[in-house]
Every structure is written in structure tokens, then in C-alpha cells.
């Protein structure tokens, strides 16, 4: 059987476009488009490069509402072989622990030699991938900046705070990718025409068979007690003048705030 790679991806609101209403202290989300989480594209690119090099079947899996299909179409256009949408109303409100449990069970059913993924920009917890590895009892290597396959092993160079580590692990294995790993390819014109024709496998709870108390908001160990925006900060001093005046203004404030010596 050929080498099987699963890529976990997520549809997120484009947070670079989310703005805060400073007067009301709320989020302005109107007209903000949903996108494929940018670093998931690095994870998909990693898989596609391995496919180009060694031959592999690349399956992209996402969990979300039916509209998350858009990122699966995009994955097809980039070169994925198979796309799976995990969707069920009873999964709504899942925290990272429950999400990872659902994704792990789906991965197990589909089968894999390697899993790639990365953190999402909306929740940005970076923990789902690592939790999936624990549920599947497979090794995890986080923060990959380089990756190669040697026989039954994956060799990854990863970046930590003050060091790089070269790590090997036996397959199957889960690797989380960084944006330094590669530059995601663009969608291919030929693939774009075909991507709307390709089938998307829908997996719901009739397939995964979780007890309804295990999943969604009910099954999640963590709950959101409240959300709030920080009150708008009081507008500071605005200064508009010549460069000399501006420099003078900065100096006087630095002195007043005792950030530089009073001399």
C-alpha cells in the first residue's frame, strides 16, 4: 500500500481583517472572510512535497460546519488526493481535548503513516495536534523546519527557543509544521477546474459513534465562562508637528515618565 499522509486543516476567520470597535469595545466581524488557516497550508505543502518525492496519498481532514468544505476544495486545487469533512451538530462547542479525540478516531479509521498540521490563528492554542498524537499513542515532533523520510523513519529538524534539534522517530508519527518549513504552492489552474467535481467524504457521528455526552460542549473538560473585550483604552496624547518639535515632545515625555535621566 502506498504511503498515506493525513493533513489536518481548519477554516478560520481572517484575523488580520478582524478589527476592534474602539468605542464599543467589541469585535467587528462583518464582511470578514473565512480562510484556510495559513500555517495549515505549510502542513499541506509538506505532504505534497513528500508526495512529489516519494509518492503518497494525501488526505486533508477538517472539522467544522458544512461551509468548511471551501478549504477542502482549495486543498484539492493545491493537489490533495482526498478530502474529508467531519461535521455533526453534536460536535459543536468542542474544546481542544474533545476535538483531538474526534480527529484521532477519524484518523484511525482512515489510516495513515504520517500526520501533519499546525496551530490555528483563531484560537491559536497549538495543542490539538499534540493531543491527537497522544490519543493515537504515536510519537509527535513539533516545530519542524525540515523533514525527510528515511525508510521507516522520519528525520525532522525542529526549532526550539535557543537550539535546533535533529530528531528521528519511527513512523507512524505526527509532525507539526512551521511557516519556515516551506512556501505553500499556489492552486493549479488544472486542479481548480477539477476541484469542484471531486468528492468530499462526510464523516458524522453515525460513523465515529461517540456517546453524545463525550463530545461537543457537554463532553469538553474546559468551558468558556465568559468572553469580553478589554475596554477601549483612553486616547493618549496625539502630536502633529515638525520633526524637531516631535523629538522634543518625546524627550519631555520620557523625562516626565522617568524613562531617561532628568538631565
Amino acid at each position: 500500500m502506498s504511503f498515506r499522509i493525513i493533513v489536518f486543516a481548519k477554516q478560520v476567520p481572517d484575523t488580520t481583517e478582524v478589527k476592534v470597535d474602539q468605542i464599543k469595545g467589541t469585535l467587528i466581524r462583518d464582511g470578514v472572510k473565512s480562510i484556510m488557516n495559513p500555517e495549515d497550508k505549510n502542513a499541506l505543502e509538506t505532504a505534497l512535497q513528500l508526495k512529489d518525492k516519494y509518492g503518497a496519498k494525501v488526505t486533508v481532514i477538517t472539522m467544522g460546519p458544512p461551509s468548511a468544505e471551501a478549504i477542502l476544495r482549495e486543498s484539492y486545487a493545491m493537489g490533495a488526493d482526498e478530502a474529508v469533512l467531519i461535521t455533526d451538530p453534536i460536535y459543536a462547542g468542542a474544546d481542544t481535548w474533545v476535538t483531538s479525540m474526534i480527529l484521532a478516531r477519524a484518523a484511525q479509521m482512515i489510516g495513515f503513516d504520517l500526520i501533519t498540521g499546525r496551530q490555528a490563528i483563531d484560537g491559536d492554542t497549538a495543542q490539538v495536534g499534540i493531543e491527537i498524537a497522544e490519543h493515537l499513542k504515536i510519537p509527535v515532533i513539533a516545530y519542524a523546519v525540515d523533514l525527510k523520510i528515511e525508510g521507516e523513519k522520519v528525520i525532522v529538524t525542529r526549532e526550539l527557543d535557543s537550539t535546533y534539534e535533529v530528531i528521528s522517530a519511527k513512523l507512524p508519527c505526527l509532525v507539526t509544521c512551521t511557516k519556515e518549513l516551506n512556501k505553500p504552492r499556489y492552486m493549479r489552474v488544472g486542479n481548480i477546474f477539477g476541484c469542484f467535481e471531486k468528492p468530499i467524504t462526510i464523516i458524522n457521528n453515525s460513523i465515529l459513534k461517540f456517546d453524545k455526552n463525550e463530545v461537543g460542549l457537554v463532553g469538553s473538560p474546559t468551558k468558556v465562562r465568559r468572553t469580553f473585550t478589554k475596554g477601549p483604552k483612553e486616547q493618549g496624547t496625539i502630536f502633529n508637528g515638525s520633526a524637531d518639535e516631535a523629538a522634543e515632545m518625546i524627550l519631555s515625555k520620557l523625562k516626565a515618565e522617568k524613562l531617561i535621566s532628568q538631565q
Binding site: L160, D161, V166, K230, L254, L259
Partner: protein, 334 residues
């Protein structure tokens, strides 16, 4: 009881663990007063004294030859064994890159929830639950998370979020040594090589003054001017993701959601528009000065002093004046 994982590297404690011990001591006043610090490694008993000085009531030294080098497998298993025997109500972990890997693996094994990158921790006076507040959507929305039933309640916290507490050399903690049961075969990830990064800059989370720049700055040459400004002020330089993506600054100097979170006394933002991802990394700075051509840029709304204008002549003039004032001081000292 609150347990704090204190990360050590090459026999030295990272500040973030000690910051969390300080926070745990504060939180424990609303609980049973017990703060247990846990440190993993090999031949590290000497670290207990320092941790005691920061206020932990108990210190567990988890030692094993297989903990000499950090691997997520060995460290997860060792901590899992300690937690299973001590049953803490709360577990705090520093959100370093290794902590962000260890935390989720451990949480999944313990079958409990984990709240990543908290910026505030409190104890609910009624339920005694840990209230974990973290930014979402790049910091524009805050969410307070609870973990009502499963234990421990786990949170990771980035370095620099809580202040380093004052030490007291009189404090003495009870110290235990715990030897976990570990086998070579349990370690599935094999570290083959460790390459030290060449570090040219001080850790920006430790800087008191930061001069940060963004896309509006323009070129690598401009950075010499900014470095001079930082040096005159006794601080360091940093930048937005844009400055790092352009290749002007190394990743280690990136401030923001995907970079570092800083809270210096003074943050000067030059040519940074202030995307929420950037604001998430610096808005807790004590005093913020922004220089930007666009008076409507988001950074200008949160700045204590917002200077509208072209940054270069302003910074040149500022550098000149600072140089002069420094010379005056030199004369006085001699």
C-alpha cells in the same frame, strides 16, 4: 494544592517557572496555601534552594538519567507519574516552546482540559475554581475558561506575563526526590543532534525598553539608526511580523501573537500600524510611544504618546538630542 512545573535547561532554571511560582503563591492564599514546584532532569538537586526562595512550600526534584536531555516522551511520562501520585488541583506550565509541547501531551494523558497562553489567573471566590483568561482572535477578544470537573486544571502561561517575585533567602521548602520509572523504549523520539542557535540579541522579554519597527521602516540600513536609539535608551530592538517576514530582523525579535509577548516599561513603535496580532504581544507595555504617518493606524489609538509624522527625521533628531544629553552627563561624572 497548586503544582508548578519549573523548566530547567543545562541545570539552570528558566525565569518563567519562578514567575509562575510567584503567581501560585498568590493564588494559594485563596486555597490551601500549598505550592509544589516540580523540576525534571538529571543531577539537579541544587535547584531546590533557589525555588524555595521564591515561595514554593514543597519542591519535587524528578531525577532520572533518561531526563538528562529533554524529550517530550520522557518528560510527559515522568510528570504523569508525579501528578498521579500527588493529585494537584492546578498545574501551571510555562509556555515556552517545550512547555507548549509538553502541556498538551500531558493533558491528553491525564484526560483533562488545558488552557493555553493565559494572561490572567484568578481563583473564583465561590467555586474555588481556577479562572483562566486568555486572548482569542489575536487578542481582540478575551475569554475566561474554567475546567469544572477534571483535575488538574491545567494552564500554560507565556514568559513575562507575571512578574518575577522577590526572593527571600529565609524561606525553606520541603524537598523530595522522585525517581520515575522510565525505560529507554518509552522514548519514541530520538534526539540525534542539538545545534545551538547563534544568539546576537538579548532576550526581548527581559528588556525594559524596546524600540520596535514594522513595515513602515523600509530597509535594513534604517535599523542602524533604530539600534542606536535603542542603545542610547539602554534597551533593545524588536519588530512586527512584517519586519521579520521582510528579513530585516531575526524571528527571535518578533513581537506579537506568533512571536514573543513583551511588557517593558517603554515600547516605542515605529512604522508599525498595529495589527491585532502585534498588539497582542505588546499592549501591556507600561508606556507606549507610536510614530506613524497615519493618525488612524490602530497603534495610535493605544499609544500614550502618538506622534504623527515621518519617523526618520524625528528619530534622527531624537538620537542627536539623546547623544548630547549623555555627553553632558559624562562630563559631570568625570
Amino acid at each position: 494544592m497548586i503544582m508548578v512545573y519549573c523548566e530547567q535547561r543545562n541545570g539552570e532554571l528558566l525565569n518563567v517557572g519562578l514567575e509562575l511560582v510567584g503567581k501560585a503563591v498568590e493564588l494559594s492564599k485563596d486555597l490551601d496555601g500549598e505550592v509544589m514546584a516540580v523540576v525534571c532532569g538529571n543531577k539537579i538537586t541544587h535547584l531546590s534552594e533557589k525555588i524555595s526562595q521564591y515561595g514554593a512550600t514543597r519542591v519535587i526534584i524528578v531525577e532520572h538519567p533518561l531526563l538528562e536531555k529533554y524529550t517530550v516522551d520522557a518528560y510527559t511520562e515522568a510528570l504523569y507519574q508525579v501528578i498521579s501520585s500527588e493529585n494537584p488541583d492546578i498545574l501551571l506550565i510555562g509556555a515556552t516552546l517545550t512547555g507548549r509541547e509538553l502541556g498538551p501531551r500531558l493533558a491528553a494523558r491525564l484526560r483533562t482540559g488545558l488552557t493555553a497562553d493565559c494572561t490572567n489567573l484568578e481563583i473564583d471566590p465561590e467555586s474555588k475554581l481556577l479562572l483562566m483568561t486568555r486572548p482569542a482572535f489575536g487578542g481582540s477578544l478575551m475569554a475566561t475558561i474554567i475546567c469544572p470537573e477534571r483535575r488538574p486544571q491545567m494552564a500554560t502561561i507565556r514568559p513575562g506575563v507575571f512578574p518575577l517575585p522577590k526572593t527571600d533567602t529565609q524561606r525553606k521548602a520541603e524537598v523530595y526526590v522522585f525517581t520515575p520509572k522510565l525505560n529507554e523504549d518509552d522514548i519514541k523520539v530520538k534526539v540525534q543532534q542539538i545545534i545551538a542557535k547563534v544568539r546576537r540579541h538579548k532576550d526581548i522579554t527581559a528588556e525594559k525598553i524596546i524600540v520596535a519597527s514594522g513595515r513602515g521602516v523600509g530597509s535594513k540600513e534604517d535599523f542602524e539608526l533604530l539600534e542606536e536609539l535603542a542603545e542610547l535608551l539602554g534597551g533593545g530592538i524588536a519588530g512586527s511580523r512584517a519586519a521579520v517576514d521582510e528579513g530585516w530582523l531575526p524571528k527571535e525579535l518578533q513581537v506579537g501573537q506568533t512571536g514573543k509577548v513583551v511588557r517593558p516599561k517603554l515600547y516605542i513603535a515605529i512604522g508599525i500600524s498595529g495589527a491585532i496580532q502585534h498588539l497582542a504581544g505588546m499592549q501591556e507595555s507600561e508606556y507606549i510611544i507610536a510614530i506613524n504617518k497615519d493618525p488612524e493606524a490602530p497603534i495610535m489609538k493605544i499609544a500614550d504618546l502618538a506622534i504623527v509624522g515621518d519617523w526618520k527625521p524625528i528619530v534622527k533628531r531624537l538620537v542627536q538630542q539623546l547623544r548630547q544629553s549623555m555627553n553632558v552627563q559624562d562630563v559631570k561624572i568625570s
